[in-house]
Symmetry: C2
Subunit: 540 residues, 2 copies
Amino acid sequence: MTLPGQSGGNEMAKQHSHLTATSFVPSCAFLTGDPGVPQCRAWMGVGSLEKAPVSQAMPHQQQPQVRGRGPGDQERLTTNPAGRDSSGDSCSWPALSRTSPGANVQAVPMAAFLSAGLGVLATSEPYTLTSSSWEPRLDSPFPSDPPTGAQVVAEPGKQGPKNPRVSSVTVQLEMKALWEEFNQLGTEMIVTKAGRRMFPTFQVKILGMDTLADYALLMDFVPLDDKRYRSGGRPGEAAGTAGGRGQEVDPYLHPGVSRGPVGTVTGEAYPGATAGSLTARYAFHSSAWLVAGRADPATPGRVHFHPDSPAKGAQWMRQIVSFDKLKLTNNLLDDNGHIILNSMHRYQPRFHVVFVDPRKDSERYAQENFKSFVFKETQFTAVTAYQNHRITQLKIASNPFAKGFRESDSDSWTVPPRALLSIPTRSHSGLGPCLLKGSTEEGTDSHKAPVSNSRTSARLRHQLLAPPEALLAPATYQPLAYQGLYPGASSPLRIPRARPTPYPLPNVQNDRDQESLPLPARLGLLSPTAMCLGTVQDPQ
Amino acid sequence: MTLPGQSGGNEMAKQHSHLTATSFVPSCAFLTGDPGVPQCRAWMGVGSLEKAPVSQAMPHQQQPQVRGRGPGDQERLTTNPAGRDSSGDSCSWPALSRTSPGANVQAVPMAAFLSAGLGVLATSEPYTLTSSSWEPRLDSPFPSDPPTGAQVVAEPGKQGPKNPRVSSVTVQLEMKALWEEFNQLGTEMIVTKAGRRMFPTFQVKILGMDTLADYALLMDFVPLDDKRYRSGGRPGEAAGTAGGRGQEVDPYLHPGVSRGPVGTVTGEAYPGATAGSLTARYAFHSSAWLVAGRADPATPGRVHFHPDSPAKGAQWMRQIVSFDKLKLTNNLLDDNGHIILNSMHRYQPRFHVVFVDPRKDSERYAQENFKSFVFKETQFTAVTAYQNHRITQLKIASNPFAKGFRESDSDSWTVPPRALLSIPTRSHSGLGPCLLKGSTEEGTDSHKAPVSNSRTSARLRHQLLAPPEALLAPATYQPLAYQGLYPGASSPLRIPRARPTPYPLPNVQNDRDQESLPLPARLGLLSPTAMCLGTVQDPQ
DNA sequence: GTCTTTTCACCTAGGTGAGAACTT
DNA sequence: AAGTTCTCACCTAGGTGAAAAGAC
C-alpha cells in the first residue's frame, strides 16, 4: 500500500483509491477459541487491526506505522476515495461503512457467534481433506478429490444444534471445475502488500435460506498446517541453465530464466517444458514444494464480510454470490481490512452463513445461527510470486485481466470456450462479460487453430522473451468440459452471471419474492431505486 | 440501452453490464399528489416501470417492448452482470437489491411519506427561484443568484411539523462554485437512451443528523416550468457558415460547423468564438433558448435512492454523499431505474432526507419524517446534445472523463487547479483521484502557460477539426477561486473526498462514533469487514 | 431543419503477470 | 540464492464529447 511510487503524489492517490476499492476493518472481534465464551471487545480500526488481541501470538504492535503512514496521517484523511471508488464496495457492514477504507467505526462488540461458532468450527476439521491431507512432495500436490466428495465439506454435523434458518442452507461452489483444475496443479494465490484478489474468485450459489430472514455472509482463511514451505529447488537445474533437459519441466519459471532464449519467440524454446507428454501432475512432481520449517507466527485472523451483508435470504439466493472484493495481503500491518496471510503457507478458505437473529439476546444463539462450508478444492498456497508456472499459465488462460499475457491473438482464444487451456466460460470473479465479449467479439473465425498457437502475444512480441512452451503446455491439462458443466456455456449470453451483490436477476417473473422487502416497508418507503410518483408539480 | 451494436453479442454483454452498473427499479410507488393519501400499489419492475399509474398522463403502455427486449426476454436473465459490475452499486435498497438491474422485487408498498411528503413538497415551491424564475430569452439564462441566497433553498417551513430527527438536518451542496459556474451559462445535462450521469455530480455534505437513526437519502427531479424549449436559432447564421461574424458567438456549435476551418488547429479559428471580450452572459444572450411550446407529457416520475440507503446518520455525515450512480435518460421505457426526463425541458433536482421511522405505523408519520432541499444552482436543461458550447467547454474542462477533449497536453492543465477554465479541484462525481492524479503526476512544471494554451490535444491533432476558439474562451469565464473555496485544494491529497457510500474517513480518531453500529450488534455480530479471531486451528 | 441515435477515440480506474530491483 | 517489492505493458470496464448518421 505504501509504494513510494515514481510520481509521489500520484501514487498516493492511486493507492488510496485502491484503499477505497476494498474494505477496511472498522472493528475487530477475537475469541478465546472456547465455544460459548464470547469475549466481546471494542477496539479501533484504522491502523490498529493488527493489534487485535488474539488468543495466539501476534507478531505486531499497536498502532504500527507503516512506512510513515500511521494512523492520524493526514494524507489518509484527505485522500479518501471517491468516484468510481465509490462503487467499489467493501466488506464492511452496509450500515456501518460499506465502502469503508479507513473506517473509523470502532467499539464494535464482538460477535458471540464468532467467538463460539467460528471458534468451534476452527477447532473442528471441516477443511481437512476427506481423501488425504495435503503433504509436501506427494505425488500430487493437492490430491484431486472426487468431484462428489469435494463438493461441500460443510459443517461436519458436530457444530451443535442449528437454527433451522441456517441448517437448511446449502451452498454450491461456482466455477468448481476451474477450482479443481487449479487444485490439481496446486493452487497458488498471490499476496501483495496492497492486497490482491483471488483467482478464481470464491463464488457460491446459495439455496435453502429463509427468504425473509436476514443473513450475513462471510469468509475466513485457516492454515492447512503449521508448516512453512519453500520452492522445491528445481532438481538438478539452476536458474539460467534452462532448456534441454528433456524430462524436466520448469515448474518455477523465474523471470531470469526466461531470458535465456531471447529471440526464440515461437514454440519449443524450452524442449523440456513443452511437456506435450507431461501431465500436470507429473510435471509438478518433478519439482515440488518442500517444507521449510514450522509456520511463521500466525497472521492477524480476519474475516471478510460480503459487502452486501446483511441481506435477505431471497436476495442472497437470487444470484450467485461473489467474493470478488476480497483481497489477500502479506502485510501484517494492513489497515485496509484485507485478509492477511503468510506467504509460502497453505490455507483453506471457509465460507460462513450467519442468520441475523432479531432477538435482543441474539448472542446467546450465536452458536446455532451460523453454518459453515468448506470446499477443499479452494485450498491454496499463498505466494508473492508464482512458483509453479503451470499455475501461472492457467491463471493467464482463465483470468480475463491477464489476457495481455495470452499467446493467441485472442481470436483463437475467444472462439470455442474450450479451446486451448480449457478456458472456463465463467472463470472470473464476476467478470462475466469478459470472456463473453471475447467469444462474441471475434468469435466468428472459430476455425483458428484451437491448440498450441505458436504466435506470440503482443507482449511476447514486444519483449521477445517469454517462453512459448508454457503456452503449449496447457494442452496436456485435462481439459474439463466446462460447457458440459455449464450447459449453454457456449452461448455466453446464457451464462448465469455472478454478482457481488445480491441483486436480482433482471428477468424474473413478477411475484417471485415479494416476501423480501421489509426494510423499505419498515421505512415507510419502498425499496426501489426509483419509483413512480405523481409526476410533476409545476413550480407554482 | 438497446443499441444493436456492431458486434451483437458483445454489445449485449456490454449493455447488460451497464445495466448492472446502474440500478433498476424493483418497484414503484405513485401518489395522487394528495398529501395524506398514500396509494400503495405493487407492481413489477423489469420493463414495466413506465406503466406506473401516475396522476398525470403517461405516454406509454404497460410492459412495453423496447426493441425486442421486453420483460421476460431471456437474454436479460442470462446476461446478468458480474465482476466489476458488482461494484457498481445502484440506487435500490440494500436489503432489496443493491445492484439490482433487473430487480424482480415487486409488490413494494408505496411510501406514505412520499405520497404525502414529496407530494406536498412537489406542490410547494422550494425550487422556485428566490431571485427570479428562469425565463427563456432573459438576459441571463439562469440568473446567478447570490451565493448566500442560493445556498440551500430548503424546506420553506411549510412542510408541516417535522420530526426533530430531520428538522435539525442541514445540507451543504458540494462543488457549489462549479455548479454556479455552470448555472451562469445555463446548465445542460445530457440525456441518453442508456442513461447518462450528471455532471457536475450532485454531492452534499450533511449535518445535524441523529447519528444513531436510520436515514434514507434520495433525489428526484421536477420540471421548472411547463414549457418545451428549442435551440435558439443561431441568429443570422446557419450551420456551415461559421466564422467571421465578429460579434457573434457560436453558442450551439454543431458538429458540421466545426468542420469549416479544417486544418486550423491553433487558436483564433473562430474569431467570434474566441470571445476574449465576450462574457458568458453576453455570449449566451446573443442566441438563446426559445420556447417551443408547452411541455411534452410528463415523464414517469421517478426518484433515485442513494444506494447506501438506509444508513445511520453517523454514516451519512461521515463523508460527502455523492449521487454519482444517478443517471438521466430520455427513454420513457427505461427499465434500469434511471431518472426519465424530457429533452429540451428544464428541471430542478431535489434532495430528500428521510428518517426511517422504526415504529410500526410509520406511515402515519411519513409527513414529518422527511426534509427536502433544493439548490437552485443545480437546475438544468435536459438535452440530447449540448446546445451552448460554452457548457460543452466547461464540461470538458472540469470533467475528468472528458480529458481527452482538452486542448492542453495535460501538463498545463494539471498543474495549477485554477488554470484555464478555473477547473474545480473536485469536479467529478467522486472521481477524486482524477484531478489529483493530474496535478501530482505532471504537476511539477507549473510554470506552463495557465491560459489559452493553443496547442491542440491529441484528439485535435488527430482530427484536425475541433475549433480551438472554444478552448480559448474559458479565460473569459469568471474563474472561481476553487482553492479559496476549498482550503487546501492546491494540495490534492488534502481534499476531502466525496463518497458514494457513507463510508467513514480512514483516519478518524477512535471513539468518534461508537454509536452508529446497531446492525451488527443486533446481528450478534460485528460490523467489520474483517475482524480478528483466534487464528488457526490446525486441521486435526 | 432540428433533434436524436449511434459509433468512436480518448480518457479514468484498476486488475494481470513479467521482469527487474531489492532484501535478507 | 530465495523471496519480496516495485514498475510496467496490457488488459477489462466504463464515462466523455465529437461527429456522423438517422428520424421526424
